[in-house]
């Protein structure tokens, strides 16, 4: 049985909930069982934010991810908070432009991607989340390339259709990055 338990975490405003939505819609496109659960609270831009995504071949029980096999983090407090919870053999995707420390665990695979720097270089400074997500999808294969595009077409509202190409470009940059 294939199942991915994913936590995406960082600061509010980095597009973390959106990244999770992209995965969730891709899962929907593939007809998989899934759940998407955001943190909610008196949070705002600059505060902490995270979301839990489960993609599975069977019914999703609890939507709360306690031990992720995939962790994507865009700030240090989130790495501190979730590093120890990752399943042995799991993967951690780190925006190394924003997080300077290394992963302490030796039983997980750490991927250091300077996502924010790559996004800035592309002239897309707000799409570091998509760069990191691109690397995540390429490495874990948790969803198909095809469904990623279908997902973006659904998630990006029609009035912002111009953002589609830019998001795809950022995702591709993440996929192309050779860590």
């Amino acid at each position: 049985m294939r199942e991915n338990q994913i936590i995406i975490a960082g600061f509010g405003g980095q597009g973390l909930l959106f990244s999770g939505k992209v995965l969730a819609y891709a899962g929907l496109h593939e007809g998989r069982h899934l759940s998407w659960l955001p943190s909610y609270g008196p949070e705002m831009r600059g505060g902490t934010a995270n979301c839990n995504v489960i993609l599975s071949d069977r019914d999703v029980g609890s939507p709360i991810v306690t031990h992720p096999d995939i962790l994507m983090v865009m700030n240090t407090p989130s790495l501190d908070k979730y590093e120890d919870e990752v399943q042995p053999g799991g993967s951690i995707f780190i925006d190394s432009s924003l997080i300077t420390r290394k992963v302490r665990r030796t039983d997980v695979t750490a991927h250091y991607i300077p996502a924010t720097q790559i996004a800035v270089d592309l002239g897309l400074p707000t799409l570091a989340n998509m760069v990191l997500l691109g690397a995540l999808v390429k490495d874990t294969g948790c969803i198909e390339d095809e469904s990623l595009k279908a997902s973006l077409e659904q998630v990006i509202p029609a009035r912002r259709a111009n953002m589609l190409e830019l998001n795809l470009k950022a995702l591709q940059a993440g996929k192309d990055y050779d860590a």
């Binding site: 939505k21 969730a24 819609y25 929907l28 069982h33 899934l34 759940s35 998407w36 659960l37 955001p38 909610y40 609270g41 008196p42 019914d59 999703v60 029980g61 609890s62 939507p63 709360i64 306690t66």
Partner: protein
């Protein structure tokens, strides 16, 4: 059927619209504000009414007014806001008016917190307001059920002329899952016979009222209402059984904690512990019969809940204390992990087994 991805709160709103509800009155409060936001966007486009009232109390009284005209109507709030609505809910019950009240629970008492809770169980199941009455209480455990039970809530409320409460929690409201939306129904063209719609001088007046100064008449109305409640208890109990065939430990849980329990039960089974679950879908009427029947088969029960043991009491009552009932609970917005539930299942299996 096409599946769409929606937040639980949005699924409630869309399902209500599809059920022909064209009147929504509310006041924003976390974690259910998406219901109001969705209604604000959609209602004006379909000739419906979205109104953000000046308070929760105003909103529930607007619900009373529309319900008296025989139209489908709803309000939604979260725990402290529901407390404010209780006066109006009692009036609805006293006037035998149907309505759907959505409670996406958060931690309490007082202003409490904004994270998920099930601590309004007593408030919902014992009658949210003064006087002798019940409301139908439906407890969704998935986004699909958020949609389906919204429709069911309207139908049952109208069938029995009583308010229905959709009792969800913050997690159910905030999470997204694939959902097949219910089919579109047009609002009923004709008002029911009791509706206050103007007589056109062709029939006696209908009055939506809960004031009866004659004790004999008020007693009669109370007794008749409870005869109707007995029908509800006979006909409308809903529950789901999971791995109960050979279960020795019966978990009882609803909403988000039923989802967590499901994970724990699968893990327990993998360890050779025969666990199962009875998940109440209606909390009032409570699934007393299946629980009592299970009491003859299992060694122990385990309630898993986000309260200090409110449903626990109903389980003990339902099984007439025939078997020990253990509890795994977290409160204040905390949710037990599958591991915590698993440990409680182990304990219930061991100690419950010894008690035999």
């Amino acid at each position: 059927m096409e599946k769409v991805l929606m937040k639980g709160n949005e699924a409630i709103a869309e399902a209500a619209i599809r059920a022909g509800c064209r009147h929504y009155f509310g006041y924003p409060i976390t974690p259910q504000t998406e219901v109001a936001a969705y209604m604000a966007k959609r209602m004006p486009k379909i000739d419906g009414v979205f109104l953000q009232a000046e308070s929760e109390i105003a909103a529930i009284n607007m619900v009373y007014g529309v319900s008296a005209t025989g139209k489908r109507v709803m309000t939604s709030s979260s725990s402290p806001g529901i407390a404010l609505k209780t006066e109006g809910i009692s009036y609805l019950a006293g006037a035998d008016l149907p309505a759907l009240i959505v409670n996406v629970q958060r931690g309490g008492p007082g202003l409490g917190g904004i994270q998920p809770s099930q601590a309004d169980y007593f408030l919902a199941t014992r009658g949210p307001g003064h006087g002798d009455f019940h409301v139908l209480v439906l407890a969704p455990s998935s986004v699909q059920e958020m949609a389906d039970l919204t429709v069911r809530g309207f139908e049952l409320a109208e069938k029995y002329r009583m308010p229905a409460m959709l009792l969800a929690d913050g997690t159910m409201g905030q999470m997204m899952e694939p959902v097949v939306l219910p089919e579109e129904q047009k609002p009923a063209a004709k008002a029911p016979g009791w509706a206050v719609t103007g007589t056109e001088c062709k029939r006696p007046h209908n009055i939506a009222n809960s004031l009866y100064l004659s004790p004999a008449e008020l007693e009669r109305l109370n007794v008749e209402r409870f005869e109707r409640y007995a029908e509800v208890e006979k006909n409308e109990v809903m529950w789901e059984e999971f791995m109960m065939d050979d279960a020795e430990v019966c978990v009882v849980s609803c909403g988000i904690t039923a989802r967590v329990s499901r994970n724990a039960i699968i893990e327990a089974r993998a360890m050779g512990i025969k666990a199962g679950m009875i998940r109440p879908i209606t909390l009032w009427p409570f699934p007393k019969k299946p629980l009592l029947a299970a009491a003859d088969k299992v060694n122990a029960f385990l309630t898993v809940e986000l309260s200090m043991g409110q449903m626990h009491e109903d389980v003990e009552l339902a099984i007439r204390c025939k078997k020990p009932v253990y509890m795994c609970n977290r409160v204040g917005g905390m949710i037990p992990s599958p591991d915590e539930v698993l440990n409680s299942i182990k304990k219930a299996a061991e100690e419950g087994g010894k008690a035999q």
